[in-house]
């Protein structure tokens, strides 16, 4: 039946940037489909120029309130890369353990607060909490655990203070790590409850599919499901690209419909995030995480962006499993205070870490005093924008006959599956007094 559909989801608030969804279709023919990102340039790169190499990770931790640990870790790795600084095995392990806390936190929040309301048919988590309090409480307990975990290793829940080039300013005690391991053991029933709740409404997850290039880190030696080490891999090629060559992967360009830069590699667009990691490295997940993926029918090669949330659930289980092993390794070896001795030198280097939303690149250049003279940051959200547009272009004609409301909802759900970081830099209140 011929359909006329006009979707115009504009969210121009006073300062926060949001993506706009525009669809025009007349008589069943699509005339315009756009994912517009009118984001204000953020100037974070300019803000670190002129600062000491010791301060970069503190400044960039404020770029994002959800993945501040990842930004700090990426900056620290880039500084160390630029200056040829090596870190101890203990530092490396504690940092990875710290990073896992952020993966758990972000994934359970994304699935619990943003995706679950769609699947259960509620406009937000607040009414969902009234109807399904047990599930929401399980999400909140997992969130609390992840916060405590970040607190212990990063020095606070968000915007970490223990990371410095060359090491850490504080290491946890054996007792603290033992307690964390006990808590991780205790959280598995909550993870199971959340997974089962999502499974009970899994038929709501759209079955859309579009052949896509997926880009993530890959670690071959030893093989591991990596968030932190390794080189850049793609489902479109066999080999990997060294982190320092990330610009040959991102190929940033300016799109007319966005003030944020877009990226492309082997195709017109690529996707990053949990599904990209799963598609490149899924065979290396821990057994319980693989089991969870199978429960939902998630297999390597999946090109349904809505399944990103399921890959996130599998990763949430995985990071809990591997963190317990990491803690055992740290405890067996014994924790010791390590002095950080670093001298600045001139150099340029990159760092790359998997943020919960996908691969993140930082690059810095320093003069001989260690003052930053150049910076370049490429966030996962920008790497997904072109892919969201391509998904829109394929999805809209397929669902046009379902009508305007369904088109709007599915496109919004698709955006939520990517969880773009487009409104992160400001969070102020906006109020009207009523008494």
């Amino acid at each position: 039946m011929p359909k006329t559909v006009n979707v115009n989801v504009h969210h121009v608030t006073r300062i926060e940037g949001h993506g706009n969804i525009v669809v025009n279709a007349a008589n069943g023919k699509v005339e315009k489909v756009q994912w517009q990102v009118p984001e204000a340039p953020r100037f974070f790169e300019a803000m670190v120029r002129g600062r000491s190499y010791q301060d970069i990770q503190t400044v960039v931790s404020r770029i994002c309130g959800i993945c501040s640990i990842t930004h700090s870790l990426t900056a620290t790795k880039a500084v160390e890369n630029a200056m040829g600084i090596e870190v101890s095995e203990q530092t490396d392990k504690v940092r990875i353990l710290m990073h896992y806390s952020e993966q758990l936190q972000s994934h359970v929040l994304h699935v619990g607060y943003l995706v679950a309301p769609d699947l259960f048919g509620f406009p937000s988590v607040v009414p969902l909490a009234a109807k399904a309090p047990d599930v929401v409480k399980a999400v909140i307990r997992l969130h609390r655990l992840a916060n405590e975990w970040s607190d212990l290793l990063a020095g606070r829940t968000t915007h970490p203070v223990t990371l410095v080039p060359g090491g850490l300013t504080k290491v946890p005690t054996a007792q603290q790590l033992g307690e964390l391991r006990d808590k991780l053991n205790g959280c598995l029933p909550d993870l199971k409850a959340v997974a089962e709740a999502v499974l009970s409404v899994a038929e709501i997850i759209p079955t859309f599919t579009r052949e896509t290039e997926y880009v993530s880190l890959r670690q071959d030696n030893p093989p591991a499901y990596t968030f932190y080490h390794g080189d850049i891999a793609s489902t479109d090629c066999e080999g990997t690209v060294p982190v320092n060559d990330w610009k040959t992967v991102a190929n940033e360009y300016v799109s007319d419909q966005s003030t944020a830069k877009w990226t492309k590699w082997h195709r017109d667009s690529y996707a990053v995030g949990a599904l990209a990691r799963f598609n490149n490295n899924g065979h290396l997940l821990s057994a319980p995480a693989k089991y969870l993926a199978r429960m939902f029918g998630l297999r390597k090669g999946c090109c349904n962006p809505f399944m990103n949330s399921i890959a996130q659930l599998a990763e949430a289980v995985h990071v809990v499993e591997v963190s317990k092993i990491l803690i055992d390794e740290l405890l067996t070896k014994g924790l010791k205070e390590e002095k950080v001795r670093v001298s600045p030198k001139a150099g340029k280097g990159s760092g790359c870490v998997e943020a919960p939303r996908g691969i993140l690149f930082h690059e810095y250049e320093f003069d001989r005093r260690g003052t930053c003279v150049g910076a370049d940051i490429c966030i996962p959200t920008n790497q997904n924008h072109a892919n969201i547009q391509k998904d829109f272009e394929k999805l809209v004609p397929e669902i046009l006959s379902e009508g305007e409301d369904a088109v709007r909802l599915k496109l919004e759900m698709l955006v939520r599956a990517y969880d773009p970081c487009v409104s992160c830099s400001t969070h102020m209140l906006s109020v009207q007094f009523v008494r």
Binding site: V9, H11, T13, R14, I15, E16, H18, G19, R42, F44, M47, V59, R62, I63, C64, G65, I66, S68, S106, L109, H110, Y113, L114, P123, S124, V125, V126, A129, A130, P133, V136, K137, I140, H143, R144, N147, R156, T157, T158, H159, E412, V415, R416, D419, P420, C421, V422, S423, C424, S425, T426, H427, M428, L429, S430, V431, Q432, F433, V434, R435
Partner: protein, 153 residues
């Protein structure tokens, strides 16, 4: 162990006046020894972590940048019941949040403190940069006095 009272500073110090809550919490933390029953927390932009920071407390005091139709630099003390949120959420990502909705969720889950007080400060400038506008930086001591009065009450 958590103290019965918590003061939380929210905002992004890379976005000028947006970071006023963080600037103030930094100053307040230096006075922490005078307030043994109070925790001071720099929440930054991790607004959802507020849920856990306020849980189990008797009182939570927030310091945040707020559009209130006031002159830039104005400070107002209010409770969540005194206001209604005029913030429009796109609900596209976890990255956008509204403190009032988070407090509403905390209440619904029975995790809200008995008393919640918000100090809102009207911004002048919300552009990238680490410096506060003069309208706010000139009044830092006045803001601190008002928050300290609340703590000593």
């Amino acid at each position: 162990m958590k103290n019965p009272v918590v003061v939380l500073g929210l905002g992004n110090p890379l976005m000028a006046d947006e970071g006023i809550g963080v600037h103030l919490i930094e100053r307040l933390t230096k006075l922490a020894a005078q307030f043994p029953g109070v925790d001071f927390v720099d929440v930054g932009t991790a607004s959802l972590s507020v849920l856990h920071q306020i849980e189990g407390r008797r009182k939570a005091i927030f310091v945040d940048c707020a559009f209130m139709d006031e002159e830039p630099g104005a400070i107002r003390r209010f409770t969540p019941e005194d206001v209604r949120s005029t913030k429009v959420l796109a609900r596209q990502s976890l990255h956008e949040t509204d403190l009032l909705r988070i407090l509403c969720l905390a209440k619904q889950l029975d995790q809200a403190p008995g008393e919640v007080v918000i100090f809102g400060i009207q911004p002048e400038r919300l552009t990238p940069g680490t410096d506060l506008s003069a309208a706010l930086s000139d009044r830092i001591d006045a803001y601190l006095s008002q928050i300290l009065r609340e703590l000593r009450a």
